[in-house]
Symmetry: D4
Subunit: 231 residues, 8 copies
């Protein structure tokens, strides 16, 4: 653990959980974000460090220390993206959901899986969703991002058999109550096998999806060993 004065930084997260280091930018100054990014990168130069929920000022500070900035995702990465195993779909309906979907996609990419973004497939226009059914069939895991009534996971969930992580967003007004309507809708989905994360938590969905793909590789390796040992 490294002490930067304003924060003790956990430098061994990957060893414990397999996930790379991440800086949660909300409530941190641009200087703090840049300092933590630099410290983590120095410790783990071989793999990208991710910083999320960045203000425009924090994005500028991250860029100044050499990080790549991802505007739509309001995030930055410092260091090389890891090799990708498995394909994770990030499906979203409206353009307002784009920041959350982009955060999820970037998290997937920095955690070792290939993000496949599919946009503009709201439930009120089924033809768009049905048009991508073949693409859906190639995915190992799906993240569905939706605000307002949050119905998209139920519809997608009926079309696929792979794990589906639903992300409610705070997009909406009035009786959406800051994303509560979408959250409740997703928790009550009639399609089985759907799991849900917090409102606007694209990062959390990305980590979960990447872990799903990662465990696949682990199982795969175990099966290979069995084959090799003749068990």
């Amino acid at each position: 653990m490294a002490d930067l004065g304003f924060a003790r930084v956990d430098l061994d997260r990957e060893a414990r959980t397999g996930d790379p280091e991440v800086v949660y930018g909300a409530g941190k100054t641009p200087e703090q974000v840049a300092a933590i990014l630099t410290a983590l990168h120095a410790k783990h130069p071989e793999r990208a460090v991710l910083a999320t929920r960045l203000s425009p000022e924090a994005m500028a500070a991250a860029r100044a220390v050499g990080a790549e900035v991802h505007e739509v995702a309001r995030a930055a990465t410092l260091g090389p993206t890891p090799e990708h195993h498995g394909r994770v779909g990030i499906i979203s309906a409206g353009t307002s959901d784009a920041p959350v979907a982009a955060e999820a996609a970037l998290t997937v990419a920095t955690h070792g899986a290939a993000p496949v973004e599919i946009r503009d497939v709201g439930v009120a226009g089924l033809h768009r969703l049905l048009a991508v059914r073949d693409e859906l069939a190639t995915l190992d895991c799906v993240i569905v991002v939706a605000g307002m009534e949050g119905a998209l996971p139920s519809v997608v969930g009926g079309l696929i058999g792979v794990p589906l992580i639903a992300v409610p967003t705070s997009v909406g007004y009035g009786a959406s109550f800051g994303g509560l309507a979408a959250l409740l809708g997703m928790l009550n989905s009639c399609a089985p096998g759907i799991t849900v994360v917090n409102i606007d938590n694209g990062y959390g969905a990305g980590v979960a999806a990447a872990r799903i793909v990662r465990v696949s590789q682990r199982v795969s390796e175990r099966l290979s060993e069995r084959d090799a040992t003749g068990r």
Copy 2:
């Protein structure tokens, strides 16, 4: 207005609003339900009187005074069903939603429109819904009944251009909070032109749908008059 001792019964509702008389059975004794049904029927023998939210005992009492009992809808009617104008679809997903859908259908029928019930078309099995698209195109108005996440109106709403009335039901558990999840989902639907009634209010949806069809006839008659008068 007739005074039955325990209630003053409004006998002139149809004249004021065009809707037939209705007995709301919740909280009334079987004897009260039977007495009010009989009084209303005596005043309006030419058109069916409707009684809703009946207990098994109230259904028996209604049957005893000559009413037709509708078990699934938990309702009874006394008097001849009116002639039907226009077709109102009542679309529902799960079997648990059947009582609310049946109440809506019966209300539509007693208020002068033809109910067309379409069942088992949940959003998690789109193929069922897509299979009835041609039938949807023949309807003048649609009532969509759904519990849990309440996503069905959004999906149906994207397929049609006629008025759509959404009825959330209390079917669900946990974070459905007695139908709140479905209600919020429907109010936040991304499909335009959807309107919503109270949780489990099949009767209210039926009245609204019948009024929509009735106003159609009024417009039609007005247009006919114009034609006749050469305007």
Copy 3:
């Protein structure tokens, strides 16, 4: 579908649902609003395109590309208003509800029906409402806009027999909880046949009302055909 870079624009909505194209301005830059308006108008020059929830800057940008701006409704239209069939009343109580009522009226007008605005008829001054009873009788559909306790739809609903769409507004303070009190009041109305849309959703109410009038014409045409064919 046209790809503007930042959005894929649905150009065929009218063919699918009968509704004209609409730009939901919330969360879009003035430039985006202007670009989408222009693209949709180029595709459908014969009928007004509507843009709602515009900031003052977006209104200016809309005006700059030739759109007519509707200040109170915070909206703009580009292209000729369609011919009007049927009369839709938009009834509101307080001056604070004016923007929502104006959005509903403009939506009705761009969707093909004639809006009839009736203002300042709050429930605490029944004499005002009773003074317009004759006008109410001429309407084919009614939209009632109210904040605070949201009681106006119940009172109007007892006076008419045509479809009534209630719009709760976020006008109020304290225990109005951003329009929740009005929303719950309308959902629990004791007047039958009332349906409800999301808080402040004047647009949604306008679409629903226009669809009700449109289906009337459809029924009317069907009846005329029957007459012509002697059925």
Copy 4:
């Protein structure tokens, strides 16, 4: 204060506040209700003691010790009703609200004012309310009891200038959330001068109304003294 073993009974309430003694029956056994009624009556034989929220068994026990039982109000009184000063209207809409209205009326009567019950005047049938306007003008204070959307106080409040106490009831279903919708509606009423009590609290409304009439007498006596003393 008298100690009955299971309760220490306050025997001096009237001296402190002017209100008579009351037994809140919820959660008490029939024997306890009867014993407290008897003890309070022995102390104050000149004025009726009131017991509210009684189960059928508690009503029987009260009757057995000589109390008068009021079935609809689920209450009992023991001792002579006091002389009545001032007239308090108790206005209610539906028959389901009858127990709360009856509790309010009985409380008014035992606290020294004359209750005037006006029933079946729901907002969805304004003609009924307008038919009693002359009677409203004779009242010194009004209690309005309503469930569902709770709109009645707003309408009555616009017609009168005397104090109005609104009582929301738990009558309703779905999004009434046990009376919450009516409570919020009344708290947000656009008619000025309305005050509200807890859901189903007919007793509290009755006490408040009786105090209003009582303070009138006090003021009156003060004015009389001035006249007599020439001040």
Copy 5:
């Protein structure tokens, strides 16, 4: 009714309800506030018109047209204060509640009763409240203003027998949820005879209190007539 272009102003409120004219300033421009104040004053020069919820700019505009500005109450009056009958206590705990208490006191004064302000008597310092018990005994009606847990009305309610109107305020943080905690506390008060208004609604409490005093006078006059006529 006068039409000012942006509003139709009700000029006959006093005739209908006995209350003077009031301008609710929230959401109105300074110019609108000034114009309505002037129009109402021209119609009723003999009695003060009240404007509430004024911004600093609106207060300046009111002052410019001759109104007296009440800074703490965020209000203004134009015209002479009426003669006062009866004494209404306005009891508050913390200094943060001062604006709501001042609005209530000013409303009482403009509606014809004498406000008696008693401050800094929170429940956590009972000695302060007990020190004013003699003053409490002289009041005809009491308004209690409190935020946070809203316990003050219960304590005051146990000490007096006159009507008590409780006003919850939005003062607090965290689990006060914008005044909800105080509102619920007051609605559930164990002291009988307490009625409640909306959060921060000092105006509503003042109107209700003034009506209580006004009805006292009416009763008093009625009693005098009886004396005079020998009934």
Copy 6:
């Protein structure tokens, strides 16, 4: 840890935390309650084991294995009560709060402190509370139990300087929402130094109070050691 088949019982709790063993009876069969009580008592015969939230059947089963049953507290103890150090007041208002107060008092007693129960001191009758001020001054810690508006802790908190633990109860109706009103009231108390436990959690309050007294002894012993060692 002992495995009883249906439960693994923690036998070493006291060593870890200083608290005795407890059986939470809700959801357990009478046989399970009796078996766990017996097993824990066999392990710790020197100190009473406590069982809470018992049904009448579970109380009977506990009595059958030699436990002492505490009816009002719905609890049982098996084994000798420990020596008491320090005095903990348990102050409650209404008789309906008695079970929660009794559970708190019994928990205090089995955890090593002397409970002092003070009843019937509601905020609406301050004279009762003021009458026990001298007794309050002798207490080392206070538990205040209250339902409805939950105002009692604020009033008591202003009179004392020792730790105060507030217990909201589910006593109430309507807008008490199962104890939520009392809970929010206590969390927002304007009296400093008040802490709160879950609704109806007399047990938790008792444990916390006993720990406060226990830490006092620890501090005392530490001070004694200092004295003995001359530090």
Copy 7:
């Protein structure tokens, strides 16, 4: 699809999603449960059909048609359990959570993965959880079941790197609000990669976990193919 009169049964679910057939028993009669189980088993004799949320009567009816009944899980299976691939941990804290944990474990088993149940590892006794750390390291996916404050997933989530599905239960009282506290706690977990299902939804968690293991196999097969083809 087979029509049983009371329900149209989906017989092709596995083909579409890979999941076996399931009967949701809530709201179905024992006869209906038995009939659907039999019909589904006849169609898919090679793989167990699962019925959940069974009443004791429905369990008896299921047993009568040859199904194996799982008492704690309130469920039944008819047909042979499939071969298991991968290990899914089901970790729970209290004995009250046992039914939900058992439903999750049985669902995992019928969906093709090996359930590993780990019980009695609540957060308030960390030593128990730390004692099973080695076992945790062998799991491919973890389901964590907890009521009350729902903290267990956060603690487990910090110890592992595989996917974690959190199931809040309705175990608790007072401010648990039927599982809401646990649900919110899990959604807000500070441990990354946690996803959540509805309150008490052990079935949904089991399906999601089994899908995660299943996708692992798919990835594994894909990798094997690559090896075989030399890609």
Copy 8:
């Protein structure tokens, strides 16, 4: 009591409760904060006066009158810190919780106990918490500060036997609902003996902890007296 014009200042709080004077800075101008600090300090020069919830401007004003400013705690003290008895741990998880933890620590210090701050010990990294177990064993009382899911008190509560005060913070987003999730989590903790204060109320927790330590001294003195007197 001193009257500063804008506030009557309580100068005798310590005599009544043993707590020093405190200025709650929210809603007060910098000048008011400085004036009250000065007045209280003049009255009690021997002991530090505390001012909390200060804006940067108020901190500057406090510094100008000689107060020591505590930036992180957003607070100021004027006068000498009292001698410290007992050790109170303030345990927090994230850096965002620092202001609330600092306010609690400063309050403890000004109320007479020694604060021991332990940071960065979140539940998702148990190793950090386990590393400070020996330090935990030396504390007389523990304050645990946590946002998001609020699980830390449950974990700490299982490790210690001294009183634990939990402080939920508003740190979080989405379904944290401003700290509600953490608050509910703490109230439902499965670890016994935990008590809770309002969201972000570090001050209240500090007062409660200091009172716990103070009562310890009182008990200690009493025991000493007994020893001295031979009782």
